[in-house]
Amino acid sequence: MIDVLYFAWVRERIGTPRETVETQAETVQALVDELRAREPRYAAAFQDLSALRVAVDQELTDFTAPLAGAREVAFFPPMTGG
């Protein structure tokens, strides 16, 4: 069980800001692959991973990051603060 959060156009494409996912995925990449296989909207959101950023437990990381012990994963486009 892991909380998955989406922001900006990723959120819009998937259609929800947050969901709880039942998964045994060991890495972010494995979780992405599971989500992609679910429904076209996930496949669309995760089509180009170079356009996405990921945070595990609110720390920026990359798609190879392990998910062991993680409670929260977030996907979003490159940030545009300031």
Binding site: F7, M79, G81
Partner: protein, 150 residues
Amino acid sequence: MRVRVQDAPFDLGAEANAFVARQQGAQAGAIVTFTGIVRDIAQGLDVMEIEHYPGMTERALAAIIDQAQQRWPLADAFVLHRYGRMHPDEAIMMVATAARHRKDAFEAAEFLMDYLKSRAPFWKKEHSAQSAAWVEARDEDETALNRWSR
């Protein structure tokens, strides 16, 4: 209080004065502020909407300030960033730095700006009468970060 994330508008002058007042006796002769204002580049912007990642935002900003304080001898640093909806000419965010020497205060403020532009979880969406579009990250902002990795 070094980080504030809020929906409400803020008064740049009042924030700057409060920041300076906190430096009383700290021997911080140099105070730099940066303020970002909503621009209406395409001459049709109604609303700038900013989404953020509550919880991570505060952590990311605090981590960026920690980095700045490790790199420069700062008396203090402050970041205030809004989210939600705002109009052209409204202030989006500000940073303030205090140091003994102006070079440190300037560099640290630029560093904070470069990092929070591309590493703090904010996303801008521009709404006009006709359309709405997410602002794309700029290559220059990523390039600006590289100068600090020396």
